[in-house]
Symmetry: C2
């Protein structure tokens, strides 16, 4: 049913083989929107409280409300992804419970912003085999949980529990032939180059702040980027160190 | 000749109608590489000095060496672009002299880095109607200068002369069907959202630095981005101002 709906009238609708078909590459991390069915509608949408009260008990784990959250997705190989999720979020609860979820590929700034600041309203969603996805996505893929490992991560603000979710990619659907997954690597290179060209004319304080930004961009590229992007940052940093001995 | 060469063996080679066919949009600014023939080989490549000395005088304006530079390109409409170029650079001299140049669409981090830090070696280039372009580009377009306006721009470091070049797009060539012009708008939105999610837990000093970054990203989006990206930044800034009255 939902599949036919997708197909009808969309000349770009196409099932693809794997993640490499939507230009993902092994070892890179992409900014995506993950959509899931909520385990319990109560916590999500108080407006649905009354309706949920009337549901039969075996339907009681969901009132049909859905969740969309911006999440970084690591491409492990052509058919597997890895997520690092903080405990206590809707996404991690829903994935634990339902086993299936959808990763949406989009570059729509409003969707990223709304899903971070508030909740996306119902009209943003459609369903594929009963799993919600974003109508406006350029592509999406259906994932099934393969394993979940729980870890404790220490950072500046103390320690937090995280779930490392490995999931198998079951189906990849293209909705727009220009679907490109969002990766921050090339932007980190461009931003570093912009700082590089200004560093020579800058006063000491500004130079130090540019240098800090370039090191931050190096951290980003190491986390999300391609080998070529990592190589580019190494070149930029080497060049600056040679020219400005006081920076390190 | 070069056109046939492109065509041969590249199933993605295609002539396109205009800038909108390579996903450019009116009013947005893209990170590109502009390739030009050098006016005078002497200043470019001292190794060629002897050879150039031997050229006949009517060939004397070029020794065949080429220039590649990372340049922001504003899409004015489907068939016109605008460049803001500092005086004294190779690119501006070459464009003044030759009238024709090529804008290359690529996301190759090594090409952006090498063309900023040093010069690209000859093997990076091919020629299209005698104008150099980058072999590795995903797409390129040939431009002819329409008008050049010279202005003086004042900034922190004093004033600098600039040329505002308006150019007509003569031909658009796709070399890779996934050609996407690089625009920093969505990246600025994503970076702002990352800071937004951390701002609540941050101490005062860190919060102020996140706020400064978000304002910088707002400046970037206003310069290069789409209406939706500008709207996204406005939403983020509004939300922060409502929650943190001390920031402004």
């Amino acid at each position: 049913m939902p599949e036919n709906h997708l197909n009808n009238g969309n000349p770009n609708y196409k099932k693809l083989n794997d993640l490499y078909s939507i230009q993902m590459a092994k070892g890179q991390l992409y900014e995506t929107i993950i959509t899931t069915k909520n385990v319990n509608g109560f916590e999500k949408n108080l407006g649905n409280l009354k309706e949920s009260d009337n549901l039969k008990s075996d339907d009681n784990d969901t009132n049909g409300s859905v969740n969309a959250a911006p999440i970084g997705v690591l491409c492990k190989n052509s058919k597997q992804i890895v997520l690092y999720l903080y405990e206590g979020t809707h996404t991690v609860n829903n994935i634990h419970h339902h086993d299936y979820f959808i990763v949406n590929i989009t570059q729509n700034p409003i969707i990223f912003t709304k899903s971070t600041l508030e909740d996306l309203s119902d009209e943003y969603f459609e369903y594929y085999h009963e799993i919600p996805f974003l109508k406006d996505a350029d592509a999406f893929f259906v994932c099934q949980v393969n394993k979940i490992k729980e870890i404790t991560k220490n950072n500046d603000l103390g320690s937090s529990k995280m779930s490392i979710v490995t999931a198998d990619v079951e189906e990849v659907v293209q909705l727009n032939s220009h679907a490109i997954p969002l990766n921050r690597g090339i932007y980190a290179v461009i931003e570093s180059l912009i700082h590089y060209t200004r560093i020579e004319l800058a006063d000491n304080e500004t130079r130090t702040s540019y240098w800090a930004r370039i090191n931050e961009m190096n951290r980003v590229v190491k986390k999300v980027g391609s080998l070529q992007e990592k190589e580019a940052l190494e070149e930029i940093i080497k060049e600056i160190k040679e020219n400005f001995k006081d920076l390190n």
